[in-house]
Symmetry: C2
DNA sequence: GCATAATTGGAATGTCAATTCCAACTTGGG
DNA sequence: CCCAAGTTGGAATTGACATTCCAATTATGC
C-alpha cells in the first residue's frame, strides 16, 4: 500500500503544512467545480487544471474519486453551515426565521439563480449511486435541520409556540421547502418560488404562535 | 443530411409503425435507466443493451444524446402527469390534496425510497448544464403546478378559501414541498420527511378555509 | 412491382477519463 | 546532518463513451 485510501477514519498519516494546504486546495476546487457541473461532470483532469496539481497529488490524498467526493461533501456541509451562522443558531423567533431564509433567497438572486443548494445538488446526484455518500449527506441534512428544530423547541419551551406544534416535523418541513424552493428557483431562474415556499411554511409555523 | 436531429419541432419525417415502436422503446428504456442512474450515468451502450437496439437506431431517431434527453424529459412529464390523473384535475378540496399527496408517499415507500421525483431528479442534474433541458423542465413544472393552482382557485371561487389566499403562491409552495420532501426522503430512505413537508403546507392551506 | 425513403447492424474512430507507476524532490525529527 | 516519510511530476495504461459510417434490409406510396 502507498496512499491512505480512507483518509478520514483511519487517520494514520501525518500531513506536512504544505500537504495540508494542497489537500484543502484540491477539496475547495473540486467542491466549486462539482457545484457547477455536477460530480460526474467534473473530471479529475478538470480538477488538476483548476487547482494546479498533478494527478498523483489527488490520488495521494484521497485514494480515488469517491474519496474526494466524500471529502467534498464534508467540506460543503461544514462550509455552508458555517456561512449561515450565527443566524442558524438563533432561529427562535419568526423574524429570525424569515431573515435567515431571506438571506438565502438574496444569495440565490445574486448568482442569477444558477445552481441550487450546495448540499441538495450533491444529494440528488449521489443518493442512489453511492451508499456512503448517501449516509454522509443524510447526516449533513441532520446537522442542518438540528439547529432549526432547536430554535423552534426553544420558542416552544418559552411558551411562545403552542404545545400542539410538532417542532421536529416543522423543522423538516422548512428544510424541505428550502430544498424544493431552491430547485424550482434554479429551473425557473427566479427566486420567487423559493420565497413563496419558505414563506408558506413560516406562515404555518406562525400560526402556532401563542398570542 | 441524413438524420432528423431535431425530431420534435421540424417534424419533417415519416415514421414507420415499426419505427415508431422502436423510438418509443428507446425513450422508455432511457427514461428508466436515467431515473435510476442519472443522465450522465446512463451511456448510449447501456441503452442499446437494455432496449435491444443498435447505436444507429438511437442516432437515427434522436440525433444525439441531448436529443434523446429532451425526448425523455417530455416523456417523463407526460407519463407522470398522466399517472396522477384524474386526481390531479380535482384538487379542489383539502381531502383531495391529502389523498393525492399520500399516494405519492405510498409510491415512494413501495420502492423503498430509492429514487426521488422523476422530473425533479432530471431538473437537478440538467438545470445548469443544458439550457434547452432547463426550459423544458420549467414547462414541465408549470404543467404540474397548473392543476394544483386551478384546484385551489376553484375552491376560492366557490368561497371555500379566503380571498386573502394567494392560490398561485400556495400551489408553488406545495410543489416545492413535494420536491424537497422527496429529496429528503430519498436521502433518508424514509418517506417521513416527504409526508411532514406536504402535510405542513396542506395544513397551511387549510388555515385559509372559510368556516 | 418499383423506386425512394426509412430502418437496422455492426464495425471503426477519436477523445477523454480514471487510475497506476515510478522516479525525483522536500521536509521534519533525532 | 541524515533518513524515513511525505510530496510531487508526468508519462503510461486501460477502458469506456459519443459519434460516425457504410452497407444491407425493409416498408410505403404510386
Amino acid at each position: 500500500m502507498s496512499a491512505p485510501a480512507k483518509a478520514e477514519e483511519s487517520k494514520g498519516q501525518r500531513l506536512t503544512k504544505g500537504g495540508r494546504k494542497t489537500r484543502e486546495r484540491i477539496i475547495e476546487t473540486a467542491a466549486e467545480l462539482m457545484f457547477h457541473h455536477g460530480v460526474r461532470g467534473t473530471s479529475i483532469p478538470d480538477i488538476q487544471a483548476a487547482a494546479g496539481v498533478s494527478a498523483s497529488q489527488i490520488y495521494h490524498y484521497f485514494g480515488d474519486k469517491q474519496g474526494l467526493v466524500l471529502a467534498v461533501i464534508d467540506h460543503q456541509t461544514d462550509t455552508q453551515l458555517a456561512r449561515q451562522r450565527p443566524l442558524l443558531d438563533s432561529l427562535d423567533s419568526i423574524e429570525a426565521l424569515r431573515e435567515w431564509c431571506d438571506r438565502a433567497g438574496n444569495r440565490q438572486d445574486a448568482r442569477g439563480c444558477e445552481g441550487g443548494c450546495e448540499i441538495g445538488s450533491l444529494a440528488s446526484e449521489l443518493a442512489d449511486s453511492d451508499q456512503s455518500a448517501r449516509t454522509s449527506l443524510a447526516s449533513a441534512f441532520d446537522r442542518w435541520e438540528g439547529p432549526i428544530r432547536s430554535g423552534l423547541a426553544r420558542m416552544q419551551a418559552r411558551g411562545e409556540l403552542s404545545e400542539r406544534a410538532d417542532t421536529a416535523a416543522l423543522a423538516t418541513a422548512l428544510l424541505a421547502a428550502i430544498q424544493g424552493g431552491m430547485l424550482l428557483s434554479q429551473v425557473r431562474r427566479s427566486s420567487t418560488a423559493y420565497r413563496q415556499a419558505v414563506s408558506a411554511v413560516i406562515d404555518h409555523i406562525e400560526s402556532y404562535l401563542v398570542r
